[in-house]
């Protein structure tokens, strides 16, 4: 999918969101007697979003919109992989705890960013994966007194 296609798709989603906002705003009530109701402001925001998104689609279709950036395959793969890794971290945190989760997440992200590991690189990542959660324990749990989600091992 080209960047232009993504641009049109994103503008299309925003256009639908704008219509959804307008639809709901009318249900909330535009005016209550002589005073503005809960739907007053959302109606104008929804209309604005719809019109602007339509303009963005028209500009893209007519070629008026020139985009410099591209979704290169490598960058997109890395971003999606890290997104997936963080999603797994969020899902597993209630079972394994935040600090253990972070210790596991670090080598995964490092692997996404650099798939070929030397022994020295692996040792450095292992050290970071061990030291970082300990430092975070003292910073967040001890100093800032944040009740971090704990796993079965108590951290």
């Amino acid at each position: 999918m080209t960047t232009t296609a993504v641009d049109r798709l994103f503008a299309g989603i925003l256009l639908l969101l704008g219509l959804y906002i307008v639809w709901n705003a009318l249900e909330y009530g535009y005016m209550r007697g002589t005073t503005p109701g809960p739907g007053f402001f959302p109606l104008w925001i929804g209309l604005g979003l719809t019109i602007l998104s339509a303009i963005n689609i028209i500009r893209s279709v007519t070629g008026a919109e020139k985009l410099d950036a591209t979704f290169d395959a490598t960058g997109l793969y890395k971003a999606l992989s890290i997104f997936a890794a963080i999603t797994v971290f969020i899902l597993l945190t209630p079972f394994i705890g935040m600090l253990t989760g972070t210790a596991l997440l670090i080598p995964v992200i490092a692997f996404v960013l650099r798939p070929r590991w030397t022994l020295r690189f692996a040792a450095t990542i292992a050290a970071i994966a061990l030291v970082f959660p300990v430092a975070c324990h003292y910073l967040f749990a001890v100093y800032l007194q944040v009740p971090l989600v704990e796993g079965p091992l108590g951290f």
Partner: protein, 500 residues
């Protein structure tokens, strides 16, 4: 002279160990943020926001602001030694700074960047102290109508000036305003756009979105970027103050600081545009304009004094009006709200000690940065070469734990991740994230202002143009939106072949 006395008292209060430590941590992180090409000041402050808020009160804001102005010092190091700007405000420093480094004058350029930053900072802080109180006092006369008009003006300025694509900027602004409406309606009571999720009833915390949008999306965009290049050599001795250079550049230093301060006060202009203006002005009024671009010392002095001065100018709309003019000051606003303070005209009357202590910490941070930058240049230059495979896992871990620590909720981490993904797509598609964040912050305030005004007038819209101040701001808003569109049309018309 009273503001300067208050600033002096603020400096004294900012010398407590707690505040000194917070300022030191802030400026050190800022220096690192300044040299890292993938992470800008907005991302730096957003990532550190949950941690800094843990310091509490003035220390939290001193630390966060330290990241902002610290980044202005740090950005010059890689600009000069590598020819790579660490952040956007140091782009202009590359032109002459790196040219000087290539001809063996890296130390001289680095030294000038440090002292120009310091002088710009001093002038910026003094003007901030002198002007913030009168601005706040003037704003005290504003009612809901005038504040609504002022917010419209500020939002349109930021949207028009803050990105390349005005239409996409306004789209992002409207999207941010909608996200700000999610949750309980502040006036009438019912919930809006919660999709049935109880976690959304209280709305989406702006700081969670800001951390995701800046902290994660900037990382997603810069994935795979590894810095390569050769560091230019310099001697420590050459970093020490060069009196001849300072005398030669004295007019440029003062003029650039003043120009960029008054330009930087305007929401949306920011440090980057200020440095460009300062550089162009210095070149225009130079006796030897041809030297610019080939390694002129004035070409380093002008942007470096400018970006520091402008960073303090941006504090005036934030502290005196409660209106952030950039992504970084929006994050600072989030910090102020999280420590329980509402920035705006009343802040100077209700919490003067807090305000002047924070301003005092700026002075101390500025002095710290002269020493730290000079001593840490080799370390800072080395940080650029650290692999992102080491750096980003740590930053992402810090973001995730930091977001969780705001409300102790994993749902916030999910929201930040979604914001990061949307921010990534937006950055790629030329939608500036700054209007989105400002829409999220100011949207609810704007809605309250509009609705309260209309409740008072019983739905009569003419109340908005009965006040001359409000009318003035609305006309300015129209001008800000329409003038660039008209200019674009005229330029396109002139570009047409004569036969058409």
């Amino acid at each position: 002279m009273e503001p300067l006395i208050l600033l002096g008292e603020g400096i004294v209060r900012a010398t407590t160990p707690e505040l000194l430590l917070a300022t030191l941590i802030g400026v050190l992180v800022g220096l690192v943020v300044g040299v890292l090409p993938g992470i800008g000041p907005a991302a730096g402050t957003a990532i550190m926001l949950p941690v800094a808020v843990g310091f509490g009160g003035a220390a939290a804001i001193a630390g966060l602001a330290g990241i902002y102005y610290g980044a202005m010092f740090g950005g010059a190091v890689t600009s000069i030694l590598l020819g790579i700007p660490g952040d956007a405000p140091s782009v202009m420093t590359v032109i002459d700074g790196h040219a000087m480094a290539k001809r063996g004058e890296a130390g001289r350029a680095l030294g000038m960047s440090v002292y120009a930053s310091f002088i710009g900072g001093v002038i910026g802080i003094v003007l901030l102290a002198l002007l913030s109180v009168p601005v706040a006092q003037a704003a005290l006369a504003f009612g809901p109508t005038e504040m609504t008009a002022l917010m419209c003006f500020a939002l349109s300025l930021v949207t028009v000036l803050g990105g390349r694509n005005i239409i996409k900027g306004f789209t992002a602004l409207f999207l941010g305003m909608w996200v700000g409406m999610i949750g309980l309606d502040p006036i009438a009571g019912p919930t809006r756009y919660t999709f049935g999720f109880v976690a959304l009833f209280e709305g989406i915390e702006f700081t969670v979105i800001a951390v995701g949008l800046y902290g994660l999306s900037e990382i997603f965009v810069s994935l795979g970027q590894e810095t390569t290049g050769k560091l230019e050599r310099y001697s420590f001795r050459s970093l020490l103050p060069n009196l001849r250079d300072l005398v030669e550049c004295k007019a440029v230093l003062v003029w650039s600081s003043l120009v960029s301060f008054f330009v930087g006060v305007v929401p949306g202009v920011g440090s980057t545009a200020s440095t460009m203006l300062a550089y162009a002005t210095a070149k225009k009024y130079s006796k030897n304009p041809d030297e610019f671009g080939r390694g002129s010392i004035k070409g380093v002095a002008a942007p470096e004094a400018a970006n520091n001065s402008a960073s303090y100018a941006a504090m005036i709309p934030l502290f005196a009006l409660g209106i952030p003019g950039s992504g970084t000051t929006a994050v600072l606003l989030g910090g102020l709200l999280m420590v329980g303070l509402q920035p705006g005209p009343l802040l100077f009357a209700t919490n003067p000690d807090f305000v002047w202590t924070v301003f005092g910490s700026f002075w101390i941070g500025n002095m710290m940065l002269v020493v730290l930058t000079t001593l840490l240049i080799p370390v800072l230059a080395g940080i650029v070469f650290i692999s992102t495979a080491f750096l980003y896992p740590i930053v992402i871990g810090l973001v995730l734990l930091g977001v969780y620590s705001i409300h102790y909720a994993m749902s916030d981490v999910t929201i930040a991740l979604i914001a990061g993904a949307i921010g990534f797509v937006m950055l790629k598609l030329d939608y500036s994230p700054v209007p989105l964040v400002l829409g999220l912050v100011l949207g609810p305030l704007l809605e309250r202002g509009v609705r309260r005004t209309l409740i008072v007038s019983e739905g009569n819209l003419s109340i908005f143009w009965e006040s001359p101040i409000a009318l003035g701001f609305f006309l300015l808003t129209l001008g800000v939106i329409l003038i660039p569109i008209a200019m674009k049309r005229v330029a396109a018309f002139r570009a047409l072949p004569p036969s058409l």
